[in-house]
């Protein structure tokens, strides 16, 4: 049974350990139609597209994490649309581990109410599987980022996902030396968009949660001994996840992270979903910092489903020319 989630801060290991399929919900190729009756047009098309998907497809339930103002309200809206939902209050200000462990304990109870069984052994197994998937995805991305695969693995069983990535690694070829672009943003669930960058002569690196941010963690260095310490492990893993603009970090960790990623790149593209407030607030000052270290920067605003690939192509090609 599918349990849908929207944000990569969702503890998918717990959903998986309870016997559900954690399924990341994205906007699809389907035009946004039914969702417009539930939420205003000035919400981002990832939110509207995910709702559209939820209204068409079969899910057992949906799990939300507090990220942005839209996601905060979306839980209720999904419930109003007749869906079973639960919201985990992921902290906005990162730091208080105990608080988040308590949130996860509550979530375990909910999974049990939903008929799942969460045991120490099962959580450890899910943790192991996801860690393997994350490690292999990172390896694949080191050869050559494969966005189609990165998106696909978020919607299939983790064991199948590992097999899929294994196959991709076998056939992966290292990319030739080309000017490198860092694509930064939230989600872009359309592999064809990334192809545009390659077709324009870039090699690609990313800071997206439909790309590297899905598998970028620094893991705690202890072995969980019981269910509660496994929850602690998960809490810590997610608090130490690659930084996202929806969270508040000490010492501007998010900016420093992106600046570091950009070091070996020639250009940076902000690939932002229209109405995505957290990213758009960061954009001007982050852009300034990136330009300060000599990067060429462009902003491309997206709305899902992406209808005009050619407009994006024109922008990307122009950027490629500037670099030459």
């Amino acid at each position: 049974m599918k349990v849908g989630y929207l944000c990569t801060f969702t503890p998918k290991e717990l959903i998986h350990s309870a016997g559900f399929l954690p399924y990341r919900v994205f906007a699809t190729e389907r035009p946004i139609n039914l969702a417009s009756a539930y939420i205003q047009s000035y919400s981002c098309s990832q939110a509207r597209g995910a709702l559209e998907c939820a209204l068409h497809e079969d899910f057992y339930a949906f799990v939300f994490t507090r990220c942005c103002d839209t996601l905060m309200r979306l839980t209720d809206i999904f419930e109003f649309a007749g869906k079973k939902v639960y919201n985990i209050e992921f902290p906005t200000k990162l730091g208080n581990l105990e608080y988040y462990v308590r949130e996860l304990r509550d979530f375990v109870k909910v999974l049990e109410e939903w008929g799942g069984e969460v045991t120490y052994e099962r959580v450890i197994e899910s943790l192991r599987l996801y860690r393997e998937l994350e490690k292999k995805l990172k390896r694949l991305f080191e050869f050559s980022p494969d966005y189609k695969t990165a998106i696909e693995v978020q919607q299939i069983d983790v064991r199948d996902a590992i097999k899929l990535v294994d196959e991709k690694i076998k056939s992966a070829k290292e990319e030739k030396e080309k000017p490198k672009v860092l694509i930064t943003g939230s989600v872009c669930p359309y592999p064809k968009v990334y192809e545009i960058f390659r077709e324009a002569g870039f090699s690609v690196k990313d800071d997206l949660c439909t790309g590297s941010r899905f598998s970028e963690y620094s893991y705690p260095d202890f072995e969980p001994e019981d269910l509660d310490s496994a929850l602690r492990f998960i809490a810590e893993k997610y608090l130490r996840k690659s930084p996202c603009p929806t969270k508040h970090y000490e010492n501007d960790r998010r900016f420093e992270y992106v600046l570091k990623l950009a070091e070996d790149c020639d250009a940076v593209v902000f690939l932002l979903v229209k109405f995505c407030d957290p990213h758009f607030f960061d954009y001007p000052q982050l852009r300034e910092r990136l330009e300060g270290i000599g990067k060429k920067v462009a902003l491309i605003e997206l709305e899902f489903p992406v209808v005009s690939l050619e407009q994006i192509r024109t922008r990307v090609e122009a950027l490629r020319e500037v670099i030459e």
Partner: protein, 388 residues
């Protein structure tokens, strides 16, 4: 519309408030839903960028100041309070000559997560510390775990402020500020409640215009004396049968932040159609701060502020609106779908269906007059009033 005498006094009071900010030894820029009592108790002067944004909207300069930040790359889709306020920082001025430079910043996300991002921007511009008070969203029920999380942060905040100012928070001082806060909120709530009378002595436009003291001066004697005076004037109107509008036939409730640059326009529009907007959800939100407990200040502060109006789930919101509908005996609700305020606006389509009276949704923006479509608003409102 009959203007309240106290509105002139409010202008004087707020003028004085803004001037004082420039003389204060320490000042903190603070979000509208944060526990300001802590600042007053530590002699830290609170500066409200949101109130500043509203003021800019009311002077119809929202578009003008927004452009200063838009030119720097801030998207036109971002909150217009934020765009305006950041714009004023870049412009180096504002209708009141700009806000004083902050000693530190204090953002509480019980009204939105937008303020966290907005204050991060300010923190980079001014190179001053930012304290984020993270309040979990209460979708269904307030959890003990959430309260503990907030309470711990309140103590962190006190430490943080004490370190910066070198002063310590005195219990007696905090108690005194809380007493004044409670007194101010009580009087303010009583002012709003006079609108229960038929005809109502005030409109929500009077409430909007006169809300600045409860936001900015809550916890001081100024708010207490201001709302005492306002209450006297309103009660005098009730005694003498003086109504806010000429001929009150329809009573309405407003939802969301006002359209600041069109306050008078809306007021006259409704008055011409004998409709009185007697109350609203925005100004009513501050009445909730009257639940603070004098004997257990920090933990009751955690509870009261976490349960702020924009930090609760849709079921609770609909319940509150239905209660307001009952208290003020309104015939309909006008819901402002506000492009600038996602947490206030998303969910309105659903809430509308849970209300006990008919509601209409109009699209606008609280400060950015460039997106206001008069013809569309008129058509919707006229159809709605006719239906009522």
């Amino acid at each position: 519309m009959r203007k309240l005498r106290t509105s002139d006094r409010m202008r004087e009071l707020m003028g004085h408030y803004y001037m004082q900010g420039h003389q204060a030894e320490f000042n903190a820029w603070i979000t509208s839903g944060a526990p300001v009592e802590l600042l007053y108790a530590m002699d830290i002067y609170p500066v409200y960028p949101e109130n500043h944004g509203a003021l800019i909207g009311a002077t119809k300069l929202g578009g003008y100041y927004s452009e200063f930040s838009e030119k720097r790359g801030f998207s036109r889709d971002l909150c217009s309070y934020a765009r305006c306020d950041i714009g004023c920082v870049f412009a180096g001025t504002s209708p009141i000559g700009g806000l004083p430079k902050p000693t530190f910043l204090f953002a509480c996300n019980n009204i939105c997560n937008t303020v966290v991002k907005w204050y991060e921007v300010l923190s980079r511009i001014f190179k001053v510390p930012l304290f984020v008070l993270d309040m979990p969203f209460v979708r269904k029920e307030l959890k003990e775990s959430h309260l503990r999380y907030v309470e711990e942060q309140l103590y962190d905040f006190i430490d943080f402020s004490e370190k910066i100012t070198g002063k310590s928070l005195e219990d007696s001082r905090l108690k005194d500020v809380i007493s004044k806060s409670l007194e101010g909120v009580r009087l303010y709530s009583e002012c709003l409640r006079t609108a229960k009378n038929r005809p109502s002595p005030m409109t929500c436009f009077d409430a909007f215009v006169n809300m600045a003291p409860i936001v900015c001066l809550r916890g001081t004697e100024h708010a207490v004396s201001f709302y005492t005076e306002m209450k006297e004037e309103l009660e005098e109107r009730v005694r003498n049968g003086i109504s806010a509008i000429e001929n009150e036939e329809i009573r309405l409730l407003w939802d969301n932040i006002p359209v600041w640059y069109r306050l008078r326009w809306f007021g006259e529009f409704f008055e011409r159609r004998n409709a009185c907007l007697v109350a609203d959800t925005y100004t009513n939100a501050w009445t909730g701060f009257g639940e603070l407990k004098k004997d257990d200040i920090i933990s009751s502060m955690a509870e009261v502020y976490t349960l702020s109006y924009l930090n609760i789930g849709m079921d609770m919101t609909a319940e509150i609106i239905n209660r307001l509908i009952e208290i003020y005996e309104v015939d309909g609700v006008v819901m402002h779908s506000n492009r600038s305020c996602k947490p206030y606006s998303f969910g309105q389509y659903e809430i509308q269906k849970k209300l006990s009276v008919p509601a209409v949704i109009i699209e606008a923006d609280m400060v950015d007059e460039r997106v206001f479509s008069e013809a569309q608003v008129v058509t919707r409102l006229e159809a709605f009033l006719e239906m009522l």
